[in-house]
């Protein structure tokens, strides 16, 4: 079971083979859970979405066609479930960049910008920096978030993402570009909330 390709395993799953299915789950549970977590920024929901993704893989095994990449198909299911979840909670909750660092402790420390630093990116350090970055990602509009998460955090190619999102590669690229720019300006905003800097993109163009 460990040497088969995902496509081969799926063919077995289509015949009802649970062992093949378990192997697929083992192989892909980590990246899919990580993907869901980055999309949702909520560990419990991420786990739910990841599990639901695999349940769907099994239940809808018949509609998988071997011509399609299994990973792409899997991500598409996970992506749709994550977006569904985001829509469900859209009006209830927004992620705030300056929320307490530990969600379990509302009175806990908040992110505090250091005084002066060479660049915003370098000035946020270690774990705190990762947390702030993740929170910035979680605060992006969904379409930029999914592009950024898949490209920059999950390491998928533009081509794969284009198939998952069902849009042209050029669209994925511009979303990634804009997403990165948004993250940068959000980082700037929390680093220096009172002195907005001119955006580099607005400077002289030839």
């Amino acid at each position: 079971m460990q040497t088969e390709t995902p496509q081969e395993l799926m063919r077995l799953v289509q015949t009802g083979n649970e062992e093949a299915f378990s192997e697929l789950v083992r192989r892909f549970k980590e990246p899919i859970t990580a993907f869901a977590l980055r999309m949702l920024n909520d560990p419990q929901k991420a786990l739910d979405v990841a599990q639901e993704t695999f349940v769907n893989v099994y239940v809808h095994a018949q509609s998988y066609r071997p011509v399609a990449s299994f990973q792409g198909w899997l991500y598409r299911i996970a992506h749709n479930l994550a977006i569904n979840e985001l829509r469900r909670r859209k009006r209830e909750q927004t992620v705030s960049i300056d929320a307490p660092l530990d969600p379990g402790r509302p009175d806990g420390p908040r992110f505090e910008p250091p005084d002066a630093a060479p660049t915003v990116e370098e000035s946020i350090l270690g774990r705190e920096r990762m947390e702030v970055v993740r929170r910035c990602v979680a605060s992006l509009p969904a379409k930029y978030r999914s592009a950024i998460v898949m490209k920059d955090m999950q390491g998928l190619t533009f081509e794969e993402i284009a198939v998952i999102l069902d849009c042209p590669e050029s669209t994925v690229k511009s979303r990634v570009m804009r997403g990165r720019r948004m993250i940068r300006s959000r980082l700037e905003a929390i680093m220096s909330p009172t002195t907005p800097r001119r955006h580099p993109a607005r400077q002289e163009w030839s």
Binding site: V13, G16, E18, F21, S22, V25, K29, E30, T33, A34, A36, L37, R38, P43, Q44, A46, L47, Q51, E52, V55, N56, Y58, V59, H60, Q62, S63, Y64, R65, A68, W73, I77, N80, L81, N84, R87, E121, M130, V133, V137, I148, V149, D152, M153, Q154, G155, F158, D166, C167, K173, S174, M177, R180, R181, I183, R184, P200, A201, Q203, W205, S206
Partner: protein, 212 residues
Amino acid sequence: MMSCRQVRKNLVDLVDGVLAADGRDRMEEHLRACVPCAAERDATSRVASMLAAAGAVASGPAVTGPGFEQRVLASVRARGNAPAPADGILVRFPQRWQLPVIRRPAPLQAAAAAAIMVLAGVVAVLYGGFTASRDAGPAIASYAPDREAGSWDDADVDAAYEMSDLDLVMPAREVPFSLRQDLVGVRSGRIPATTYVLEPAPDESAVMRASF
């Protein structure tokens, strides 16, 4: 020399390292001379590596233990332990002209016939030789197109509508997301779905193709 606009457009590929040597050289030439573009390149590449670093860190409490497979299997078994027939889910194809349609659940006999059609349809679509099947019964759900999304030429939709006897004809991109979700089949069996893929033919008319 490339213009700033061209450079900005390709910056993401440059940072990604996927540009061919020729394109890369022409980009570098511009970046050496253009401070704002170079700054943008540096910024986007810094953000990209920050994101990669954040992505590489273990994902915290959601990291999946060995119970994960068991829970998934339990959940699958709770739903009846059998993969659903292929007619309950829609796999979207990356074609521009895809039209999801919801149809009335067929009576049992018809369902068996439909299942055969389904297989035929899937095979036919794979080999590109199947044209529209329009006898799958009347649609129950009709959805008004979301006109705000209307990047679509209405004439395209009208033409498609004229050609078909479907109760719902709309471009996939205009389908409200909640409906798409149903069609994508995240909730199996709740709504029987039929996919029609509409593709532009060489003479610019539309050709219906049915999948399952």
